[in-house]
Symmetry: C2
Subunit: 322 residues, 2 copies
Amino acid sequence: MNAAVFDAQEFRKALGAFATGVTIITTSGADGAPVGLTANSFNSVSLDPPMVLWSLANSAASLGTFRRAEYWAVHVLASDQEELSARFARRGIDKFAGLEYDAGRGGIPLLRGCMARFVCRTASQYEGGDHLIFVGEVLDFDRSEAAPLVFHAGRYAHATHRDSQATRPREAALAGSFSEDFLGYLLGRSHFAFFGQLRDSLEREGLNDMEFYVLSTLSLQPILSDEELARGLPGIAEERWQQALDSLVMRGFAHTRQRDGVAYELSERGRRCALRLISQAKALESKVLERFDAGEAAALKSLLGRLLGAIDEGADAIWKPR
Amino acid sequence: MNAAVFDAQEFRKALGAFATGVTIITTSGADGAPVGLTANSFNSVSLDPPMVLWSLANSAASLGTFRRAEYWAVHVLASDQEELSARFARRGIDKFAGLEYDAGRGGIPLLRGCMARFVCRTASQYEGGDHLIFVGEVLDFDRSEAAPLVFHAGRYAHATHRDSQATRPREAALAGSFSEDFLGYLLGRSHFAFFGQLRDSLEREGLNDMEFYVLSTLSLQPILSDEELARGLPGIAEERWQQALDSLVMRGFAHTRQRDGVAYELSERGRRCALRLISQAKALESKVLERFDAGEAAALKSLLGRLLGAIDEGADAIWKPR
């Protein structure tokens, strides 16, 4: 697109192609009042001396305060600080209300729980079109291990690290066959491997995999009708889950209730058994997810959730018998 | 950390907490030779006039060329351009060798296949410690829909969009129970839902889920011993997969071979059946993954792969019978 026919919205979209972290930049006014705003125009500039930069619209209400400020602080936000980002992006509210923060050099507010913080002294202010570029010398900084909040294409995002070459999946021997990179294979193997770790516990409770799966599904709601159960167990042949359900009822883990037709609920025994297994399964989940950072664990769950949405909704039509 | 005891490596790590996209910046020398380098110090500055900035080390070999350049181009890299990023980050090689590119204003090289490109005329060059800050007015730009290449904490990353509030999982009714956010539940449900879409095809081939899973595993290698099969089917009770395997052998989908003990391979019939089902499963995979961008699909597979690694390796010890 040529600048002669420059479309501001298209230009914004093109800029949005560049992913960034999210920062909150704070300072304090002449009256000592804390000032802050969300910005993703931050970047590093220099290592020696240590310097960073960011830019602020000439039209921003806080421009005057930052222009006159000797010190300001950049807070790089962590994955769990999306709400803080939204709060400091809003106008006309007291952004610091109810927030705990510390006082840094010159009394500037320092927020807590961030991935990294840089306390800076203004080194230069440069013109940049409708923005002013602030270059600061970094006087202090700190950092903590956390997952980052990411902004891309106008939305918040998670960052997940890529595989190194060493951990990439092997190709299959049979041409045209599944490889270990095939999604269906990964789903099946992850599922079996995960529940395989619970096998001994299940055996002690006298449950097989399908019975445990139906038991878990029953624990999602106090009482479930036949149809609700079927919707909660998509992709499983009805006779398979019915058989497991009958076995649970017969052995007193669940019982039937009348509610516009047949419905099921866990018995006290079933509830206690579910709680025991669930606490073990949750411990296993925590153990396994230790290998991921918080953002990656959230990304995995979010992607699986969207995968479910995609399977339930769209794929049905093409797989009916022809 | 105070600047008085400034540790350069710690400072780099703190800067790395801020996630960025990855760009390649190009220009051409007085002799017309193309010049380019990988940079993540890019950011937007101004909308009206449209301006962007980036910074370059004073020690960079190409500093003189960029200082004198009237035009330069910023290429925002897509998820599949990690190799291009690595190539332009290297020194002492001909970065443009064998690369197809177009000539932009002033003959500057424009690379292909990028997420976004900005052709700029230098507006200002500002001092920034050991770097020079280039501010450019954007003359042309273009953009394509793609997943971004992301850099965070010194490594390449994928960006995956977050759930909106509307799609966040419901909490379970039973306190302490699984919620729909529980990983084991998501894995089970995704696996069942995915294979449920293949149920009609499996029934036409006369296979149940476990027989199909064993058949797929046999297709990974030309011939598999008992132990190799067991390793390939972790988390599944031996009698379950043995029963499926026996049924496959009995019906001529696979046969046994002697190879230091019992081993198995697909028969011609099994191979043809596997190929039919696999092509359907791959079509289903493509259909489902249409809902994700390329980076997200890769992220999902990569996270599942790492999950498997974590389960296989670490979790075993804590789940043995007590």
